[in-house]
């Protein structure tokens, strides 16, 4: 299952994947790109800064608290790893760095609303691989 979900890791995003995996004995962490020339954050990983066109980049952990921008509650999934986990809530989250994240809300959904604060964490997904998820902040 891990191979089917994680099979598409690209060379340009290797620090992202390495970050989620973490060093031996340490938990994984989420890293996003920050342009070393102009300081603009970007996500998902890509080689070139669309603002200043520098290839130079740092991979940095975002502050970790964001706000709900939108969401869906998935009631059927064709992904074998997720098929028996429905329903699950997928959040779209604004980070103060100016990028967005997608991830499952792993706390009970309660009252979903735009703007609710959430905290990003890296936890093991249904296939066993570390992934970004959200808790209510």
């Amino acid at each position: 299952m891990m191979s089917s979900l994680q099979a598409m890791q690209s060379l340009d995003a290797q620090p992202y994947w390495d970050g989620l995996q973490g060093e031996a004995g340490q938990g994984g962490r989420l890293l996003v790109q920050r342009c070393r020339a102009c300081g603009k954050h970007r996500h998902y990983p890509r080689p070139l800064c669309p603002a200043c066109h520098s290839f130079k980049v740092d991979w940095v952990p975002p502050a970790g608290i964001g706000q709900v921008h939108s969401w869906t509650v998935v009631h059927q999934s064709a992904l074998p790893a997720y098929a028996d986990r429905v329903p699950y809530t997928l959040l779209t989250v604004d980070l103060p760095e100016g990028v967005r994240l997608m991830g499952r809300l792993v706390d009970p959904p309660g009252e979903l609303a735009v703007g609710r604060p959430v905290r990003v964490a890296v936890e093991r997904g249904p296939d066993g691989a570390p992934q970004p998820v959200f808790h209510w902040a």
Binding site: L5, Q6, M8, Q9, S10, A13, H43, Y44, P45, H69, S70, W71, T72, V73, V74, H75, Q76, S77, A78, L79, Y82, R85, P87, Y88, L90, T92, V99, R100, L101, M102, G103, R104, A113, V114, G125, P126, D127, A129, Q131, P132
Partner: protein, 388 residues
């Protein structure tokens, strides 16, 4: 720029032929290639052309009928142009722009567009994951539990609902209207009447989308011939000139999550350009075939096209506004929601038939119409056709 483009393109090309197979659900008993050749031949013959007259082809990116297949099977001896347009559901209408440009440049006289599917290609998420446009989604979002378009697109609809108060019951009007149109069309798959309550009772797939917000899985094929006006004077059917074509791409188009504005689609960037090029206004549009992979995508495009203000789409689609006899009849064939999912080529076929006056659900006196495409993570395309 608009004036120069308009002089170069407006009226240079016309749709001269349309064709489609019978549509169905489930696996077809013929190959995708055979179905597409049947539709292609129908379109060529509808135009009054011989297959050897085709000198340009734009097959779909699915790869089940490529330029070589069209040369081999149609016996084309002097193919001068082939291309594919990788914009998902925006591809067919965007290909009208490609054909128009190739014709205006003098490279081709008759360009054939064709799509088709045999209903055996497997799960939609698996199919899309194999396309380059979904590479980012496949790498970063599929592991998180987002796979099919319904899961990727639902957050756009949810954001619209939270911002403007749009409801699932509003989306029901779109599904029910498409079904009503399908009931009156002989080549529509869905023949069971649908009520607003039926829509609301259908199961949730990815909130806020219910089963009846989702388009069909279909088999069949559809094709269109675009010709140089100068080469089309003596053809079989009334010409349907391309007044304007345009495509628009959203910012950050590799994923919906990263799009700065979830409430506008790529078509918002190109709609006004198309109206300016065509020299028509919204009030001139008699009929609109609007890409409808999901109900919400219709509502959002109606706003982005300027038929109503952003946030007012729900009011626009209520109370028969998009039905036959409404202020803007939409998807008079039943659309992807209730006729068949032919990636929007069936929308072009239907618009051409409306403007020829030969449609099953004919809009009386239709002279000008538009057709749109929507694809991947927000790509848009539009064509305005008619005799204005």
């Amino acid at each position: 720029m608009t004036a120069g483009l308009r002089a170069a393109l407006r009226g240079a090309a016309a749709v001269t032929g349309v064709g489609e197979t019978a549509y169905g659900r489930g696996p077809a008993d013929r190959s995708s290639l055979t179905l597409q050749l049947e539709a292609a031949l129908a379109a060529v013959r509808d135009a009054g052309l011989d297959p050897h007259d085709i000198d340009g082809v734009i097959p779909s990116t699915a790869g089940t009928c490529i330029a070589e297949d069209l040369v081999d099977n149609l016996g084309i001896t002097d193919l001068r142009f082939s291309a594919t347009v990788p914009m998902g559901g925006a591809s067919c209408v965007a290909a009208l722009q490609t054909a128009q440009a190739v014709i205006a440049a003098g490279i081709c006289r008759h360009v054939l567009l064709v799509v088709g599917r045999d209903g055996r290609a497997g799960n939609i998420g698996t199919r899309l994951r194999a396309t380059p446009q979904f590479r980012t989604v496949a790498e970063f979002e599929t592991p998180l539990g987002a796979f099919a378009p319904v899961e990727l697109y639902a957050p756009m609809a949810r954001r619209h609902m939270q911002t403007y108060g749009t409801t699932s019951a509003d989306l029901a009007h779109i599904a029910v209207t498409m079904r009503q149109h399908a009931l009156g069309h002989p080549n529509a798959v869905m023949k069971k009447p649908m009520t607003l309550a039926d829509h609301q009772a259908s199961r949730l797939i990815a909130d806020p989308f219910r089963l009846f917000d989702c388009s069909l899985e279909s088999h069949g094929a559809a094709a269109v011939v675009v010709s140089a006006r100068s080469a089309a004077a003596d053809l079989a059917k009334p010409l349907v000139p391309l007044l304007a074509c345009a495509e628009g791409h959203p910012d950050s188009p590799s994923s919906i999550t990263q799009r700065p504005d979830l409430l506008h689609l790529g078509i918002a960037k190109c709609a006004q350009r198309a109206f300016d090029l065509a020299g028509v206004t919204r009030a001139d549009i008699d009929v609109a075939e609007i890409y409808d992979c999901f109900t919400y995508i219709v509502l959002c495009q109606l706003e982005d096209l300027g038929f109503c203000a952003k946030g007012e789409g729900a009011a626009f689609v209520r109370d028969g506004g998009i039905g036959l006899g409404g202020r803007l009849p939409v998807n008079t064939h039943g659309g992807l929601l209730s006729q068949a999912h032919m990636v929007g080529m069936n929308h072009i076929v239907e618009l051409v038939r409306q403007l020829r006056g030969e449609a099953a659900n004919q809009v009386a006196g239709a002279r000008v119409g538009l057709v749109t495409g929507y694809g991947d993570m927000g790509d848009g395309s539009i064509a305005i056709l008619g005799n204005a």
